[in-house]
């Protein structure tokens, strides 16, 4: 019987492409075939501000009457705080009634006597976060960066995309990131933690102004704390203490000191995008990225994602024809895995992911 699985991408070298899109229309600053570094700006856009309603009718004492004849600014124009938006002369040129901008911003709409002012519009940049080459440009929208890189996917992420130099604070994926393990070497770095983190450890990483954190597991009780961190966090295995799978850990460790991009992904329950770490590798050529087959076969590299064997990684040895009964009373199609430790374990097919 054939079994198909979900897939975790863990690839030491591949030629991959990643979109860098603006959330709204903006200006794209790169062109086709441009070389970009991680810090380079792909494009700029305006992050919407706060809407404020101005009652021009009341300010000019016109009630609900149209104020169009008294306007000094038009929709789309910027105004500075205190600047006159509308003015109604009174007593000749003396003592006019005016409507002034309470804050700096831009007039976005007008309807009879009501005016909408948008304040705090923020020009925001989208950076490449990857060194590579621009292979596609979507005017006003974004661009695609191509790079030869190592790719390691996780399962949960939080924060905004970032980049920095990889530093490990644990020797083993089993270790927990604690306060004492974080030192000045983590300043401005992407920190590789272990099977979990303590709250104090997170504070210390934050103090080091880290640019990202990669963990095997994360206690769900720390989620509120993680939400306050100024850098992205990527969890490789899941919630609760869990060592990072050795395939991912080895790749990350082999790139200590190299620059990496951390993308926390997108946790939309209907169209999730997996978090990932991309480490550009300066090579002349690399195989074009293509997802491997997700048919479970003998010899496949897999990792166990749930149950007592969670965190085990290894190779499929056999796919028994008959299902296996588990202690909780359920009968499930299963797969026999030769773990890295040398043990052979039987786990439900549904609880493994192909790694490749």
């Amino acid at each position: 019987m054939k079994h198909y699985c979900t897939l975790t991408r863990v690839v030491p070298l591949t030629l991959l492409r990643r979109e860098r899109m603006l959330p709204t229309r903006g200006k794209i600053l790169v062109g086709m075939d441009d070389r970009v570094d991680a810090v380079d700006i792909i494009g700029r856009y305006e992050r919407p501000g706060r809407l404020i309603r101005l009652d021009a009718g009341a300010a000019l004492r016109l009630g609900h009457r149209d104020v169009a004849d008294f306007l000094k600014k038009r929709v789309g124009e910027s105004v500075q705080r205190g600047e006159v938006i509308a003015l109604k002369p009174r007593l000749g040129k003396l003592f006019p009634r005016v409507l002034q901008a309470p804050v700096s911003g831009r007039l976005v709409a007008m309807s009879d006597s009501q005016i909408l002012l948008e304040s705090d519009v923020e020009e925001t940049e989208v950076r490449a976060h990857l060194s590579g080459r621009i292979v596609s440009v979507m005017p006003e929208r974004g661009a695609v960066v191509e790079t030869a890189a190592a790719l390691v996917q996780g399962v949960w992420g939080f924060g905004e995309m970032s980049h920095g130099v990889l530093r490990a604070v644990v020797d083993s994926p089993e270790d927990v990131l604690s306060e004492d393990k974080v030192d000045v070497s983590c300043l401005g770095a992407i920190v590789i933690g272990g099977a979990d983190a303590t709250a104090e450890g997170l504070v210390q990483v934050s103090k080091m102004q880290a640019r990202g954190l990669i963990l095997g597991g994360l206690s769900a009780t720390l989620l509120d704390h993680v939400a306050t961190l100024p850098f992205p966090v990527v969890v490789m295995e899941g919630f609760g203490r869990c060592p990072m799978n050795p395939f991912a850990f080895e790749i990350l460790k082999s790139h200590i000191g190299h620059e990496a991009a951390v993308d926390p992904g997108y946790a939309d329950p209907w169209r999730p995008r997996r978090p990932e770490v991309i480490i550009p590798v300066p090579v002349a050529s690399a195989p074009v990225d293509s997802a491997p087959d997700v048919l479970l076969t003998e010899g496949c590299k897999v990792r166990v994602v749930r149950g007592e064997r969670r965190g085990v990684a290894g190779v499929v040895m056999s796919l028994p024809e008959h299902p296996t009964r588990y202690d909780v009373g359920v009968l499930l199609p299963s797969v026999e895995i030769q773990a890295d430790s040398g043990d052979r374990v039987m786990v439900p097919v549904s609880n493994v992911e192909i790694v490749g």
Binding site: K2, T6, S111, A220, F239, D268, P272, G329, V330
Partner: protein, 582 residues
């Protein structure tokens, strides 16, 4: 339109958010029967990015099980079935993989139309992202900003009775138009208007050239009349067009089927309607899925669908945690030394790997706890939909159902049916006497689509293969002291043997009655308890169905309450599990 040749073999696919299942139905001994099934991960997201890929993989598994060939060398479905046995005569599909419609509701100051619209939204996979209303203390800028920030798929505008004043609706549509203008054209919402018909032309004028306008019949044409149908139909159309049809590969999937691909919840609803009409009963169908929970019901002939979008045991666990709170979920877990944090870790890990299965006792408990809360939250949404009448005498409780059908990939597929039943009893708290039925293979949803191409196949498979009677639930309404007598039951078996039982408050009693057997049950509740025969204390004699569960008397009272103390809570949960044979 169906194909002209006789349809015998049918392949039915159910594309859920995390798992895609295919079911092969064929004629065996002159009857349509379920033959075999296959499954694979749903492939809507990366790396597949094509819903058909998951269907193909599920079919490949089915091929490896049956030895039959369904796909040609180009991975196209072979149709109709060939003389060598390859292929199938028909293919149908249901889809619940799509995200829900994100809706902002716009109404006049909180009023009946808004309440009616909220009920209408529950029929379709929707997420209500916010409500805007003009009048009172509301700041129009904030209302406009809400629409701009949310950028919903649809703004549903309601308000006013037919023939009433239109000025307020006009102001509301100004706000919607302005908010839409501030959004990029491709992010602008559709506007569905189900209010005062006299305001249609005014609104059409205000939003012309800005957004698509969909006027439908007023949901409250008069204060005493509620008609949700036209709004529900429009939302279903928008869901199909804007969500389902935009799933990657959906066009190819549709091309395989002679009928339209049906939303999973709607297809499940059709089956519940069929069962209710066939037997003239009040029927409730319950399906707790990965990312949504569906209650399909027929009460006094009135069909209703309640979709709990985002509440599920897989991808939806995250939203359940958020809406029910971690402590609300953990209250259903006994787990030796298990903390709320442990339960939370398990629930969120399940959300991260929605296809994974529980293999430890604590994982099973945590998953079932999430299912209980998903069901409880969805039942809360359904409560306003179920009209109060003789079948629903208690406003805060579920109506009296004749039959409850457990369906989907989770509820009926536990290690034993006692676990399934206890989840239902805890979360939904049914009342009175009802037959509990399980859709053991999760066929009910797809049979709703099969019925459109071959009604006989749907009816026969439903009867022979899909539905298994688990037993009878008896749930008295009332409260008493722990250990007080709730009712006296006397069961007369077909072989004339009798069993008499005094059932006390706070317990669950199970009386064995084998599958296929019927027995005569005489119930004499004490005067504090109502078992659905007109008033408290009234007893009667009923024919009841047997099954793997037998007869389950849930004498824990309604509404069900868990003890406050941690030790008491664990003790009571354990007692209930032992009682029911967990």
């Amino acid at each position: 339109m169906t194909d002209s040749y006789a349809i015998e073999s049918i392949l039915a696919a159910d594309c859920g958010t995390s798992t895609t299942r295919v079911f092969l139905l064929d004629v065996v001994d002159e009857q349509y029967r379920f033959v075999a099934g296959g499954e694979a991960p749903t492939s809507v997201a990366a790396p597949g990015n094509d819903i058909v890929l998951g269907v193909i993989q599920a079919i490949r598994q089915l091929e490896s099980i049956t030895g039959k060939r369904f796909l040609d060398d180009e991975q196209k479905l072979i149709r109709p079935e060939r003389s060598d046995g390859s292929g199938v005569d028909a293919f149908v599909a249901t889809v619940s993989a799509g995200p829900p419609l994100r809706v902002v509701l716009a109404g006049l100051v909180p009023e009946m139309s808004v309440t009616s619209a909220v009920k209408a939204l529950s029929w379709v996979p929707t997420l209500l992202e916010g409500t805007v209303s003009l009048g009172g203390d509301s700041d129009p800028a904030e209302q406009i900003d809400l629409i701009r920030q949310v950028a919903p798929d649809v703004v549903v505008m309601v308000g006013g009775t037919d023939g009433g004043a239109v000025q307020a609706i006009g102001a509301l549509s100004d706000a919607v138009a302005l908010a839409s203008k501030l959004l990029e054209r491709e992010r602008r919402p559709e506007l569905v208007f189900a209010g005062n018909v006299n305001a249609r032309s005014l609104i059409a004028e205000k939003v012309a050239g800005l957004i698509n306008f969909h006027p439908v019949d007023n949901i409250r044409p008069r204060l005493d009349v509620e008609q949700a149908g036209p709004l529900v139909e429009e939302l279903e159309t928008l869901y199909a067009d804007r969500k389902m049809a935009r799933l990657p590969g959906f066009g190819r999937l549709s091309a395989w089927s002679p009928i339209s691909v049906v939303p999973g919840a709607r297809a499940f609803g059709r089956v519940i309607q069929f069962v209710a009409e066939q037997y003239g009963l009040n029927v409730l169908g319950v399906d707790v899925g990965s990312s949504q929970t569906v209650l399909a019901s027929v009460l006094n002939g009135e069909f209703a669908l309640t979709v709990g979008s985002g509440w599920g045991v897989g991808l939806g666990a995250r939203r359940v945690v958020s809406d029910a709170t971690p402590a609300g979920i953990a209250r259903w877990v006994i787990g030796e030394d298990a903390t709320v944090a442990d339960v939370l870790d398990i629930a969120l890990t399940k959300a991260a790997y929605p296809r994974s299965v529980a293999t430890t006792a604590l994982e099973v408990e945590a998953e079932q706890a999430v299912a209980r809360e998903a069901l409880r939250l969805t039942a809360g949404r359904a409560m306003p939909v179920w009209e109060a009448d003789a079948h629903r005498p208690y406003p805060d409780l579920s109506p009296f159902w004749d039959v409850i059908v457990l369906s989907g990939g989770f509820l009926p597929r536990q290690a034993n049916f006692a676990q399934s039943a206890l989840m239902l009893l805890d979360a939904l708290q049914p009342i009175g006497i009802c037959t509990l039925v399980a859709d053991t293979m999760g066929l009910a949803g797809v049979l709703g689509a099969v019925g459109a191409v071959q009604p006989m196949a749907a009816a026969q498979v439903l009867e022979h293969d899909a539905l298994l009677t688990l037993g009878t639930l008896i749930c008295p309404v009332g409260t008493a002291g722990e250990g007080d007598l709730v009712l006296r039951a006397r069961l007369k078996y077909p072989d004339k043997q009798t069993l008499t039982l005094d059932v006390t408050y706070g317990s669950i009693e199970v009386i064995p009655l084998e599958a296929g057997q019927k027995a005569t049950l005489e119930l004499r509740p004490t005067r504090q308890f109502d078992i659905g025969w007109g008033r408290r204390g009234r007893g009667a004699v009923a024919e009841v169905d047997g099954g793997p569960l037998g007869i389950v008397i849930d004498a824990r009272g309604r509404p069900l309450a868990l003890p406050e103390g941690e030790d008491d809570r664990r003790r009571v949960l354990q007692k209930w599990r032992w009682n029911i044979g967990y």
